[in-house]
């Protein structure tokens, strides 16, 4: 059967032509295409990676942004709270001061009142003493209108002084 016996002529031409085709394609054809395809797929891979990274960075940025806003809000509320508490404190301090001042003033007033009272009391007692001396003078003047009585009194006074001197000794 001629079908299954390889023909030399065709085999010869096949060898020659296939070798030429292979040479041309292996040199100028396929490596260029596969090289470019490889380059492009690498590029695409790289781009994908970059995009992913960019997205991640964007996400991080967004998180950072959110965090900053959150922080600012916290700071704001903190400052507000602080201001409020400072106000309260100031008011409280002022109240305290006022109370202290008032207390001091009251104290001072009391002191003055006491001093006045003392002075008044002393004046009154002085007056009373003067009055009583005057009264006593008047009384004595009445009693000592005679010499007898004067000597009697002097004796008695000496006696008293002696007694008191003795008792002291």
């Amino acid at each position: 059967m001629s079908l299954i016996t390889p023909d030399f002529g065709l085999f010869f031409w096949m060898t020659l032509i296939f070798a030429i085709v292979f040479f041309i394609l292996a040199k100028f054809g396929f490596p260029i295409i596969t090289g470019m395809v490889k380059k492009r797929s690498e590029r695409i891979e790289q781009s994908l990676r970059d995009a992913e990274e960019a997205q991640k960075a964007l996400k991080e940025l967004a998180a950072e942004h959110k965090r900053m806003i959150e922080e600012a809000r916290k700071e704001q509320s903190r400052i507000l709270n602080e201001a409020a508490s400072t106000g309260d404190q100031i008011v409280a301090e002022a109240k305290q001061q006022a109370r202290e001042q008032t207390a001091a003033m009251i104290e001072k007033a009391r002191e003055e009142i006491r001093i006045e009272q003392d002075t008044a009391r002393r004046q009154i007692s002085n007056e009373i003493a003067t009055l009583s001396v005057e009264v006593a003078e008047k009384l004595l003047r009445g009693h000592l209108d005679s010499d007898e009585r004067q000597s009697e009194l002097i004796d008695r006074l000496i006696e008293e002084a002696r007694a008191s001197h003795k008792s002291v000794n």
Partner: protein, 353 residues
Amino acid sequence: MHRIRTIACIALCLMALLPASAAEHDTHGESAPGELDMNSYIFGHIGDSYEWHITSINGKHISIPLLCIVFDDGLKVFSSRNIEENGYTLNENGKLVNASTGERPVDISITKNVLSLIMSSVLLVVLVLLSARWYKLHDPLKEAPRGLPGLMEMLITMVTDDIIKEGVGKEWERYAPYLLTAFFFIFLNNLLGIVPFFPGGANLTGNIAVTLFLAVCTFLAVNLFGNKHYYKDIFWPDVPTWLKAPIPLMPLIETVGLFTKPFSLMVRLFANILAGHIMILGVVAVIFLTAKLGPMLNGSLSFIAVIFGIFMDVLELLVAFIQAYVFTMLSSVFIGLSRQEPEEETRQIETTK
């Protein structure tokens, strides 16, 4: 779906009857003029010839004469129209023989298959170089090719990624040009073989010389670059010693295996394409064979034959691709096997590390 199945069944039943009726005609001796000579019809289409027969009109053959180149006491070149004038004749296989001695000269004629081979090779080179040129004219990093370069890129990417990288493994770049060339050569010639008129129609990849050459190429690619381990596995495989010495039973089997692998490649491609061509020719022949069974039967059978012919042609398109794919895949798998590193050794190295 059901209707298609019914039609196919009827067609198959009718086709089963056909060889019987054809054989009946053969018993009557030489077929009468105007009747179809199945033998020359089929073998004329699938075989090689010294002229490219295009068509016959009223018994007049229209064909392209081709160049006969013969070494027989020196180089002789003549047109296929002048075979007799140059002292040659065709033997019963349609081969050129010396008219006086009846011996075959060294025959490197540009036959129908060779011309088809030249044309398809030029076409292949042009297709690939045109695609490669696109990458020089454009910035492939910025845009992807469309049209022809796009199609070629798709096919090349598919072959490299699905077949070559998977099959060969490491260092696949070294083998990619050969495997890609083989794939596109087979695919293009398979497709051209299905085209029924002039530039196509030659049964090139269904010719044993062509598939033999491709198988030899794969054989060389596998065995020239095989590693130490591959050859050790052939000549001193890991089997009980009595299997390899004193009678080298396993090495013998492995050596035979060396040749059966490319042989199977050769036969697979050859037989598939040849069978496809014969099937299509057979289906088309139904129209002519039933011509004298009456217009009614002929008409209906012709209709079925056309439907079936379309089916076969589409199937052949698929086969054209599949066979190119399978040849390339098996070649790369064989190459990959010849370069495989032994697993135990790597494991040992890993454990010693």
